[in-house]
Symmetry: C2
Amino acid sequence: MATPVQPSTETAAAAFVRDLDAALPAGRVVDDPEVARSLSRDQAAGAPVGRPAAVVRARSTEEVRRVVEICVRHRVPVVARGAGTGLSGGANAIDGCVVLSLAAMSQIVSIDPLERLAVVQPGVVNDDLRAAVAEYGLWYPPDPASSPWSTLGGNVATNAGGLCCVKYGVTREYVLELEVVTGTAEVVRVGRRTAKGAAGYDLVGLLVGSEGTLGIVTEITVRLRTLPSAPITVAGFFPSLVTAGTAVRAIGAAGITPSALELMDRFCLRAVDEWKQMGLTAAGEVLLLARVDDPEPTGSALAEAIVEHFRASGAAWAERSTDAQEADALFSARRLAYPALERLGPVITEDVCVPREHVPEMLARIEALAVEHGVQIANIAHAGDGNLHPLIIGPGGDDADLWLRIEAAFDGILDAALALGGTITGEHGVGLLKRRGLEHELSPAVMGLHRSIKAALDPHAILNPGKIFQ
Amino acid sequence: MATPVQPSTETAAAAFVRDLDAALPAGRVVDDPEVARSLSRDQAAGAPVGRPAAVVRARSTEEVRRVVEICVRHRVPVVARGAGTGLSGGANAIDGCVVLSLAAMSQIVSIDPLERLAVVQPGVVNDDLRAAVAEYGLWYPPDPASSPWSTLGGNVATNAGGLCCVKYGVTREYVLELEVVTGTAEVVRVGRRTAKGAAGYDLVGLLVGSEGTLGIVTEITVRLRTLPSAPITVAGFFPSLVTAGTAVRAIGAAGITPSALELMDRFCLRAVDEWKQMGLTAAGEVLLLARVDDPEPTGSALAEAIVEHFRASGAAWAERSTDAQEADALFSARRLAYPALERLGPVITEDVCVPREHVPEMLARIEALAVEHGVQIANIAHAGDGNLHPLIIGPGGDDADLWLRIEAAFDGILDAALALGGTITGEHGVGLLKRRGLEHELSPAVMGLHRSIKAALDPHAILNPGKIFQ
């Protein structure tokens, strides 16, 4: 006798999706599995990716609130994301979650030239904001290398840095006010639009860099600066990482604050050369690129001083760039390093930050780790603030043994940074890739404070759970 | 028949003091009732002061930890304090609490010229740190008017501002790392010493400005800057608050960021003149003082531009100060305003901050409120960032009616600031005086977030309870 057919019982996941569909306008829930897949992960190589129950593209704060409300009701995790340019897995889907893309909330709400602030939706692309405010002679400084694609919401979630942070600071220093959907599906405004304020706890600072684990940001008010003077570029080619590190240290000791101080090692120079034939490799082993944007004649004086420090530290060649095109080419080589290396295989991007004085030692330890584990590690660095990006080149195909050695080198770099008084992440955040590193950096008591705050602001544990820490 | 004598039962308070005495070296618990009384309040006129069960002067982190441990055990509130220069009652004793003075923890632990940072105990006086780092050509910018007396611990607790914040930012922007005794009597370190960092939540930012309600800071690592160029001072006397406000607005619109832009009105000028006979009143109704510290020739160019903006906005007299002595005299007049007004009666210091463009309107509303409530209100202001300090002069003796009118004017000023998109406190914090104002500024949902965080980090509700909010 055949087993009788049971009446179909709706699964919990199906009930959830039905509620989502009912609460949102048509077209918000993504049907195309290819699109859904592409929205389920960020740019972190080697981080696990879960399978979402649904992917939603929100178009308003109210839609975000409804999604969170339904997630609370069904106890479903919600993973907010922007352009997905993150490098630590923070925006990767969790099994059974909603991926909530805010990329379509891309309106610049207002620009106020007198107060020097702008109000944007989270999906506004960093470079789009920069272009819009430049029309008023204003400037939004934080400039992650992903600025042509990354969104302000993602920049806020990760407290993004960039090249000019050595002089102008990171995202947190530019965020005045946030509109946020909380873990209990309330829409709140935190912060203020005045130049100063001391009314209550710094909830803005707490939310910036919290990687979507404490709230979902739906509007951002940022401080702007006046556009600085046209920059002067100084380039120096060095025979070794140590001599370049010495130059970085000398510039710091002299009290000079350039608006960028970038390092590229021979692996990066070679990769760019092989791709774009720029002739960088012929000039030296390590390139340091400095930029100063002080008004003249201070700008020229600082540029000359940097040239002298480069030479005194052992640069084979150091000059102030005399034409803007040449300077742009050098900085574009810096920006091309990452894609150039990606041509060789998946790139696992490290992001440690050490005290400036330990930059030479940290670079030496990275070289030693590459040899020890038999992996290829290229280095680009925001050298001026000790923020190094060792780039570990993964295998083209499957190579389980190489992945294990990469993992060992990755952990070794984190340990070395901590041993030198540094941090496991200067600007990319913890996400999934550095959760273990975070437990090494912070004491159990401080991890406990993190968990207390998370529980306080996300009582239903639905906001990107398991990211940063478990 | 006589009532039999009962065996004496130790009161809870006595048991608590006995435990304190046993846990601390001799001399830490203050016996002198006069000293205890002086340590039971800050400089806020009109804020309630409770009667502490004990007053302790700690000399080490371990002593602080023990005090908190005993407070946890007995569920006794602990009110940490430095020099007590606060202006909102945040350091005022609560009935039955321990007042915990950190003023004796006054060691500068280290200064690192290369990394440009200093490590200090919380009792280090702001000006002492500034003097110590100046020997290395370095500078700690935040400069509250109380800098000759106020401690770094108090500066951190209130996120103190000051004159140069218009260009260089407030205390929070300079704190890298903190050692903290938590509400569960654990000693933790939060933050980092590197230039950048994104490892976990911004607990440093959360603790700065939390007025002792989330933890007790026992060591502070601050960022330093290179000492700027010798400043140039520009002074302008204006016929009215509105013309002076127009000048402030014009300087902001021109994208000029002076390193100070201070305003004093006729009440302040008169009070200083009556005390020090500086002849200020003869020159005009309102004084604006600007300072620029850019290297030459930029500095001179900006100073000239400011002179022009002063004149174009209606200044009766505006000049760049040609000698340093004259400039110092003008800035000391600014610093003398507060004590000069105190000669007239208790001074209730307001501390609102409004968008720069609304400075003229806010000054006009303050004048109207003074007339409406029949109170005397003088104005000093960090005008460049819209941070106004209306100073309400209280009665010399008892005058219940005047106190009621002062309270009404005080609340009126907060309401006016909020109506103009401002905040109830730019740099003094909430303490006791502005708890009602905070409830007006923040939504119930945001107040709820505050309470959740407080409960998470202070589960026994012993850390300065009832301050900022109840």
